[in-house]
Assembly symmetry: C2
Homo-oligomer: 367 residues x 2
């Protein structure tokens, strides 16, 4: 086992407690920012519930939690035969997969756990060794996620100078990953390097991930953070307060067009007008080389109630229509650079994205 | 008395009920959009309370309500001597002026009522005639406000073609004036002209005037309206859904820079990028020829709680800073035209603003 990943961010979104048998400890994100409560999850049903209720959210964090969910489902089942255990593993994975039917990282992590179990079974291992192997694989998924965050943080921190003030949108931080986040990783790293920084966080309507989650985790880390409403970003930029923008991404097309939380495109347009660099931080798994440009990315439309009744009371008149797209697309010409765990793509376009993906072995062909 | 102003908007924010003695009827805006409740105000204390609680808001609407508040204070006081009545008028005005210490239209309307009373007194009128005269002046203030709205609506409607979809920010509608509004007046007028239109309304954080008030009054008028969060305007514009933007203004500098509700500047930048016209609708009283450009306009900063606890529960972690500027400034080069009750200023700049103000007699000198 490698040494634990040094984490300059004090927030541990997903953790495994003890060895085997053990349990999974999550930050109960539905209670943030009012209370910092940890949720100890001891079985598969508990993990399904935690994922479904958004106690844990953010694609990478869900993947890590689901992998530990598999461990919860198989630990203590040493008396089963290896064949019976693998059948049981299938059922555990199917149960966890039903928690949130659209979360890609959930399926990816569960498939990796299932295939690992099958590979160990094919090598003729006994049930005890199978369970140990699945636990090791879940830890590896967690460790790799944290390591990717650390590498993005190191590349991104090169772009942050002492004294800078940064703007971010939504939450692409430790609370969304098994490590220190994507967009926020360069901030934690810059801080650990001794740089003084300050951050403005868009509250990010409708679900307020910026106000509730980004502000919380940055303030936990001692990084000065100021919350603004989404409509204030233009004012703050026009006042010359912002030196760089850092955001995450949900999907990046082959030409570098960036799909991210609704409102990101507006921030990119404003940053462009004020000649402030606009950085996107995302692991290579976010790239979708099958999609030529942003127009091919489907945009999920979410329930009207998130906008109309987002705070426990109705703010939009009954009967009035609401439009609630969850994401928007920032065209690549507004993106100063995309920061990945394999390095930075300056002024991304199809050729530059393809070059990095080839170098990293994600795309076939010579770099 | 002239004929009542035809109002294609069905919302009557401020009304006088009966003749003398009568009372003032307000839409209780604090209950919108959950309930449409009218508030009958019978005395000065009731009007002070209504203005203070924001039961009536919007600078022009407050001015009209305050003028009627003066009538409530003097009606039935015929037994006083004229001199005594004028002293009483002073006290009534002072009481109303204390309701909201920063509302310019409030002071303007009260000063006009006081001066009118003094002028009538100087002409030797008796108390009954004085009271009748003050009532007539309040009605005139209301009528002139409604008439300005009607004229802005007519000029603005020339810019709206059948089938257009419009975007607006905050509430510059009937609920903010004694007539059919500023930014929304062209919409009501276009609709009355038989044009089919649809409107997207930014919810307008932090106080949600777009979701609560604009959506309510447009839907009351049968104009299809869709509410979006402020961060969605960029997406909606990039989808090609918007043909023109209409907003109001709180102050316009001599060079045409426009101060308006926070978030307006962001909408202007987005409209500019998507080559969508950006129209500002405001009466001449909004212009401030003493201020050369937008940098000279002071921006009010409001309490953090509006952002952090805007919905009856805390959404920002305790101890985290909030920045809450109430307004921003849109530079004149992003403004396609300013629509006033005296006509439209295309591509406003200092020379064009001065030309209109001279023509309207607001600035000295030859047009």
């Amino acid at each position: 086992m490698s040494a634990p990943v040094a984490n300059p961010c004090p927030v541990e979104t997903v953790a495994w407690v003890g060895k085997l048998p053990g349990h999974c400890r999550l930050i109960e994100q539905t209670r943030l920012p009012l209370e910092t409560v940890f949720l100890d999850v001891h079985d598969v049903a508990g993990m399904v519930d935690a994922i479904y209720r958004l106690a844990v959210r953010g694609a990478p964090a869900i993947g890590v939690a689901a992998a530990y969910g598999v461990v919860l489902g198989v630990q203590g089942e040493e008396r089963r035969s290896p064949a019976d255990l693998l059948t049981h593993l299938e059922k555990v994975c199917a149960t966890l997969a039903a928690a949130r039917p659209t979360a890609v990282n959930l399926f990816w992590a569960l498939q990796r756990m299932r295939r690992h179990g099958e590979a160990l079974g094919a090598r003729g291992l006994g049930s005890k060794a199978l369970i140990d192997g699945l636990y090791a694989e879940a830890c590896a998924i967690h460790r790799e996620d944290a390591d990717q965050c650390r590498r993005m943080g190191a590349f991104g921190a090169e772009l942050i100078r002492d004294g800078m003030t940064l703007l971010t949108h939504c939450n692409a931080g430790a609370l969304a990953t098994g490590g220190m986040g994507t967009a926020l990783a360069p901030m934690y790293t810059a801080r650990a390097q001794g740089k003084t920084i300050a951050v403005f966080a868009d509250e990010t309507r409708p679900l307020l991930q910026g106000a509730r989650l980004t502000a919380w985790e940055l303030s936990q880390a001692g990084i000065p953070v100021t919350v603004i409403t989404d409509g204030m970003a233009g004012r703050v930029l026009s006042e010359g307060r912002i030196d760089a923008v850092f955001v995450g991404s949900d999907r990046i097309a082959r030409n570098g067009d960036v799909c991210n939380k609704i409102g990101t495109y507006t921030v990119a347009v404003l940053a462009n007008r004020h000649k402030v660099p606009f950085y996107v931080v995302a692991p290579l798994s976010t790239f979708d080389p099958e999609t030529a440009d942003g127009s091919g990315i489907p945009i999920e439309e979410r329930p009207a109630a998130e906008v109309a009744e987002g705070f426990g009371r109705r703010t939009v008149p009954a009967g009035v229509k609401v439009y609630n797209p969850a994401f928007d697309v920032t065209p690549h010409e507004l993106v100063t650079a995309i920061i990945t765990e394999h390095g930075t793509i300056d002024r991304p376009d199809t050729a530059r994205v393809e070059a990095l993906l080839r170098r990293a072995g994600v795309l076939a062909g010579v770099a």
